[in-house]
């Protein structure tokens, strides 16, 4: 290859790139946080004995997770204002769409975790007089979370990576600003390399930490 790499443009435009990284972080924290909240709200309905509660939650989960995330972001941006009359800024539309998309997966992960908790441990809580909410907060919830740590981490990683979908609706996150910069400087390879390195730098510590926590939890509580 005769391509001459020139990363100097990255330092030249560092202010722009740092600003874009900050927007990505905001997008990630808000969408993952809101996604977890959506998951926590949907999961109990998904597990409810009453069909009236279970069916709508199941429908939301099945419909949303069958839509490609890019389609969901673009659909929310163009169609939601027409349907609801509510025109959100591109940033908040992106937060909402990614949160919704992640939320339905979080709901399924939480449901699987709760259902994996040994019924006997729940009955032990009931037998000492715990109310259902106390059982959920002190027994089922913590044990379910310990069990679903690996898929939970994977879903967080997916949500972080999905933040780049904001570039399709002009949210000034790292990929969008990077693409603008590469057009302006004719240096797309350097810019894309930076974007890739940025996500590795964000995600790798997260997965390594989660892996270490998972090993610690397994050794401490579950392995003889």
């Amino acid at each position: 290859m005769s391509y001459q790499w020139d990363f100097s443009i990255l330092t030249e435009y560092r202010g722009l790139l740092l600003g874009a990284a900050a927007v990505t972080f905001q997008l990630v924290f808000l969408s993952v946080g809101l996604g977890i909240l959506i998951g926590l709200i949907l999961a109990p309905f998904r597990m409810a004995e009453r069909r009236l509660l279970r069916y709508p939650a199941t429908a939301i989960i099945e419909v949303v997770r069958s839509i490609p995330p890019l389609v969901l972001v673009v659909w929310c941006y163009y169609c939601l204002p027409i349907l609801t009359g509510l025109a959100l800024p591109a940033f908040w539309t992106c937060v909402f769409a990614i949160a919704l998309y992640s939320g339905v997966f979080f709901a399924e992960i939480f449901r699987a975790g709760v259902q994996a908790v040994d019924r006997g441990l729940i009955e032990a809580g009931m037998s000492v007089g715990m109310k259902p909410l106390t059982v959920m907060l002190r027994v089922t919830g913590p044990l379910a979370f310990l069990r679903v740590l690996p898929p939970f981490t994977s879903q967080c990683v997916m949500a972080i990576k999905n933040s780049v979908l904001g570039s399709y609706i002009a949210v000034g996150e790292i990929l969008y600003e990077g693409q603008r910069l590469s057009i302006h400087t004719f240096r797309p390879l350097e810019v894309l390399t930076l974007v890739a390195a940025f996500f590795v730098a964000v995600i790798l510590p997260l997965t390594l930490t989660a892996g270490a926590i998972e090993r610690h939890v397994f050794l401490k509580y579950f392995r003889r």
Binding site: E123, M126, S127, G129, M130, T134, R138, P142, Y221
Partner: protein, 271 residues
């Protein structure tokens, strides 16, 4: 028999009246009635599938009965009668309060793996009874000493043997200061060499006047610790009375057959 205790002659602590339980079309309990006096130890015996565990689980509403009533100190468990005379299930929080006074020990221990041994014991007193953590921990350490596991207070359950886990489960149940303790085959999941240590703790509890209902296959324990044994078959009580009478002198053919089948493998049991 009777472990050297005095059973109260007062009114029964627990009354079970014509209890029925069905799972779908299968009727597991077909009208069971019994009463338990304060400090009495009742052994529920019977073959697998006779309904003894279901009966025990109905007592604290882990299984909701299909019919009949359970009264603890005169208060109906799990149901209330409205001013209009209609009988309806209790709210979850009121049922939880009732359950707190009848702690249960399970076959598979069911210790919470994410809490230490002491954490398991103090969880109920702190979360349910609202006891201050320091007070609960002092109580918990006393109870762990009572079951011989004071030195394991900071261990996690996974590091304990089955017998030790079951003794922690007994301490956890005792920490609620229950009016009655329910044991659901507490030694059935244990290796034979670990059965004795659990039975010894239960025998000590019986001697100290704890009111207990015990589902067990340990005939020697039933004979030594119980004031009364109840033999269930096909969801009905077929014989009841003092252990010596029921196990050796009963004229009931089904009782004779059951205890004859139990004798060889239970001779020389750990207690």
């Amino acid at each position: 028999m009777n472990a050297g205790r005095t059973v109260s002659t007062d009114a029964p602590l627990l009354v079970v009246d014509n209890l029925r339980k069905s799972f779908g079309a299968h009727e597991v309990l077909k009208g069971v009635s019994l009463s338990v006096k304060p400090s009495q130890v009742i052994g529920l015996l019977g073959r697998s599938g006779s309904g003894k565990s279901t009966l025990l689980r109905c007592l604290n509403m882990l299984e909701v009965p299909s019919g009949g009533r359970i009264l603890l100190e005169g208060e109906e468990i799990g149901f209330e009668t409205t001013s209009g005379g209609r009988r309806r299930p209790l709210s979850a929080s009121r049922l939880a309060l009732q359950r707190a006074s009848m702690s249960m020990v399970f076959q598979h221990f069911n210790l919470w793996p994410h809490r230490t041994v002491l954490g398991n014991v103090v969880e109920g007193p702190v979360q349910v009874l609202g006891m201050a953590r320091e007070e609960a921990e002092a109580l918990g350490l006393d109870l762990l000493a009572r079951v011989g596991l004071r030195d394991k207070a900071d261990s996690y359950p996974i590091r304990l043997s089955g017998g030790q886990q079951q003794r922690v489960a007994i301490a956890r149940a005792l920490a609620m200061r229950p009016k009655i303790m329910l044991f659901d085959e507490p030694t059935s999941a244990l290796d034979p060499e670990l059965v004795g240590e659990v039975l010894q703790v239960m025998l000590d509890l019986a001697k100290s006047g704890t009111t207990m209902v015990v589902v067990t296959h340990e005939m020697s324990f039933a004979r030594n610790a119980c004031d009364e044994v109840v033999l269930l078959e096909g969801g009905q009580i077929v014989e009841r009375g003092a252990p010596d009478y029921v196990m050796t002198q009963s004229e009931n053919p089904r009782a004779r057959q059951f205890f004859a089948s139990q004798r060889p493998e239970n001779a020389g049991g750990p207690v």
